[in-house]
Amino acid sequence: MMMTVSQFSLGRYFETGSPVHRLDPRTKLSSFFVLMLFILFIHNLYSLLIFMAFIAGVCIFARLPLRLLLVNIRPFWFLFLITFFLQAFLAPSSTPTGNFWNNIHFSVQGVESGLFYVARIVLLLSAASLLTLTTSPMSLTDAMEKILKPFKNIGIHAHEIAMMISISMRFIPILLDEALRIQRAQQSRGARFDGNLIQRTRSLIPLLVPLFISAFRRAHHLALAMEARCYRGDEGRTHFEELRFRRQDAVACFFMLFACVPVLFLQ
């Protein structure tokens, strides 16, 4: 009945060893945000084409198969569909009347703007997928930690957040394993996981209580292990790979601005 682990590809890191992969994650993260801002405010076809060319260029340069990008934006098909149909069949010129069905009519202009909006969303999504396809989650959290470091004074402890993300990432497979094991153990004791909705919900209790108890115990052991190794937060902590802004990062930033400046003038 439950514990369905589905296949995910969205946001998965895809290693090809290309120059884009080896860029400083801070460069990639900040250019992503700049690109996102620009894409959100474009309103004409030429700027759209410029950014499409830019994204395609990055994709080729990163040696990523284009199919991967398509797989990444597939979960959003519902959004595309809604966007397209709302734009295409509810023409902007029509004045709303009481009856919803009266407003529906087909127009070429509507279809055009529908395609434009869908293309813009596709662009946004592919920019985001490019970021996560070329940057591993761990180096992204590293970059976030470095970028957020100056905000420590206002209560954002970047190091702690990055640490918690990596710990919880390692907890997930362990807990999943544990949950499956407990489910089988309880079934072997005669627990049933079927019936109507109320019975099924109740049947989760003998699963979740042991899960919690074992999870707390694991956290306890990990705390002891970390204390034994003198973990003291970020003071005096060093990294295996220090992030450095190098020449290729400067080149990447230059290309980025090269794509953005004409768009600024086209508006």
């Binding site: 990444n72 959290t141 918690m164 993300i165 919880s168 003998p206 705390a223």
Partner: protein, 211 residues
């Protein structure tokens, strides 16, 4: 397993001595670990699902409620922020994957509601004289369910109006983004409350979840 554990703390004085909101007093490492643990459990909750019409019931918000109840407002909020940050950084912990593009997903509003609901629940449980009493659970449940569904509904509305670029009426969103999920959320909150009581009784130490 759990029956033997829950019998231990059935005396009222013992139940009282084990208020789990004491997680606030935990030392640095323990607190960090408990926060990460609840972030991981929230991710796991997406994979525990009960088939149910019209939408399958996932156990995700169950852990959101429990994180607020168990960890208190600051740590509960932090655990959900960590969950969101992990998903936005590209780990596939959301129901349709992860990555920064998820901000554009129609269901992102519900995710934004998670930390808010955890904070409110935690604040209520820290303040309450008797956390876990029926009357209090009723108010806390109504509040947190409304927060998650409310932000989710607003997110859906904003997504359809501004990203899809076409207005959708508020009543339509109210129906598809709020009413449909209401019974499921109520069931999950009740389950969370039952679990909270069981666990509170199971850990008859000072309630931080560590023996």
């Amino acid at each position: 397993m759990f029956t033997s554990l829950s019998n231990k703390g059935s005396r009222p004085d013992r139940a009282r001595a084990s208020a789990p909101a004491a997680a606030m007093s935990l030392s640095g490492i323990r607190r960090i670990l408990l926060i990460s643990l609840f972030a991981a459990l929230t991710a796991l909750g997406g994979w525990i699902r009960i088939p149910f019409v019209p939408v399958p019931l996932t156990m995700q918000t169950l852990f959101v409620y429990l994180s607020g109840m168990w960890l208190g407002k600051t740590a509960g909020f932090a655990s959900q922020v960590v969950y969101l940050a992990a998903g936005l950084a590209g780990l596939p912990v959301f129901s349709a994957g992860g990555g920064p593009a998820y901000v554009l997903h129609p269901t992102f509003g519900y995710l934004v509601g998670f930390p808010c609901a955890a904070w409110v629940l935690g604040a209520l449980f820290e303040k309450a004289a008797r956390p876990g009493s029926r009357r209090m659970l009723l108010w806390a449940g109504a509040g947190s369910v409304l927060i998650i569904l409310g932000t989710g509904m607003l997110g859906l509305y904003a997504n359809l109006n501004w990203i899809s670029g076409r207005p959708v009426s508020f009543t339509q969103v109210l129906w598809t983004g709020f009413v449909v999920f209401l019974p499921g959320e109520c069931i999950k909150f009740i389950l969370a409350a039952v679990l909270y009581r069981r666990l509170r009784n199971a850990f008859h130490c000072d309630g931080d979840g560590f023996e």
